[in-house]
């Protein structure tokens, strides 16, 4: 773990542990043993504990007093809810963004698409966020974007698990290109409609593919409408 110049140990630990969770190196339910993990990262427990506080705020880990911290898990219902939240926030942000977008914004989104198309499937989660945030950034809603990033990060570990199916990525790329096309046309209604459908499709595919391995479905929760 390189000591980057202007970054505290705590921040570095947050990034490292978050990455391990998102990539599945630290699967859900894994206890984070402070002594062991601190030794492995070559730091004391103090910055690690601070990092754990932050990761907990992000919902990636859960701590119980005097019992320690485990990597959190999302039920299918919670995962579904996260995509619902994405629909609510992202359709609004996209609608705000489209009338404010210029050629530089389209070019940026196109660049992210090109880069992600040429890249490794394991990087999809990162590129997906970069694409979506590029799409919404012109809205100027910084707080919502920050909240949304948290949602993306949390859902990404499951997205990453599912992406052995490369066909899904191809479909998502097609959608991404079409979203930019609608934005270029200034077609808010069409863009928002596709975005909603895009997110719902991703959610359906993910929940379906994960549903086989998860029998602890919470009740009282409907499908993404």
């Amino acid at each position: 773990m390189a000591k980057l110049g202007r970054q505290s140990l705590t921040d570095q630990i947050v990034s490292e542990v978050r990455q391990r969770i998102i990539t599945g190196q630290l699967p859900e339910g894994t206890p984070l043993r402070q002594e062991k993990l601190a030794a492995e990262l070559g730091v004391s427990r103090v910055p690690l504990r601070e990092a754990i506080r932050q990761l907990e705020a992000e919902g990636l880990v859960v701590t119980e007093l005097h019992k320690g911290t485990v990597v959190s898990s999302l039920s299918l219902a919670e995962l579904t809810e996260m995509f619902e939240i994405r629909v609510q926030l992202e359709t609004w942000l996209f609608a705000l963004a489209i009338p404010r977008m210029g050629e530089a914004d389209f070019a940026l989104a196109d660049a992210v698409i090109a880069e992600s198309a040429a890249s490794d499937v394991n990087s999809w989660g990162d590129f997906n966020w970069r694409f979506h945030s590029a799409l919404y950034a012109p809205s100027g809603r910084t707080i919502a974007l920050k909240m949304l990033k948290g949602v993306h990060d949390n859902a990404n570990r499951y997205v990453n698990l599912q992406l052995a199916v490369v066909a899904d990525v191809e479909h998502e790329l097609v959608d991404h290109r079409n979203l930019v096309a609608f934005a270029r046309l200034g077609d808010v209604e069409g863009g928002v409609k596709l975005l909603r459908k895009h997110i719902e499709t991703v959610a359906d595919n993910l929940v379906r593919s994960l549903g086989d391995g998860r029998k602890d479905q919470e009740d009282g929760q409907e499908d993404v409408a």
Copy 2:
């Protein structure tokens, strides 16, 4: 600061400092001097630093490496955005909740209204959250509710500043009663319409009353539509 049985020092510090920020005891821009604050709270700096990490994740404070932590401030644009986010999430949650509400849910909301009507204006922020969360809890969307609580908490410090105007609280109470009435009738469309108007009115009043004292308005941001 009483030592409650099953709560870590860090959690207690989070609550205490959050409360001080929300009530204005720690105004925006105030530096949090770790040594001084830890001494005042009768704890070491270690749990205080952990608490600061959590408060930072909540957006209530901002930390700069090696320079310390200050109570965060929201621009008018950011405050406006928070109410916009509330509109997006709360109208959705309320629409989901109404068909799922039973007499116990209405009674709970009514009880919060009665309690807040009989209470001190300074408690309004807490009661307001309790009311709104009671209204949406039947939706079953726990993640969204948690995110929403963060938004309410952060905006509350400004709500608390403005509430010298008691007339605003009276109007809000009327709206609250009418929201419950719509829910009782199962009128999703009417309820959502009133809720949207309710939140937008609160936002307009707040921004208008704060606008006089804040000349640092961010540009490029529209009014709540």
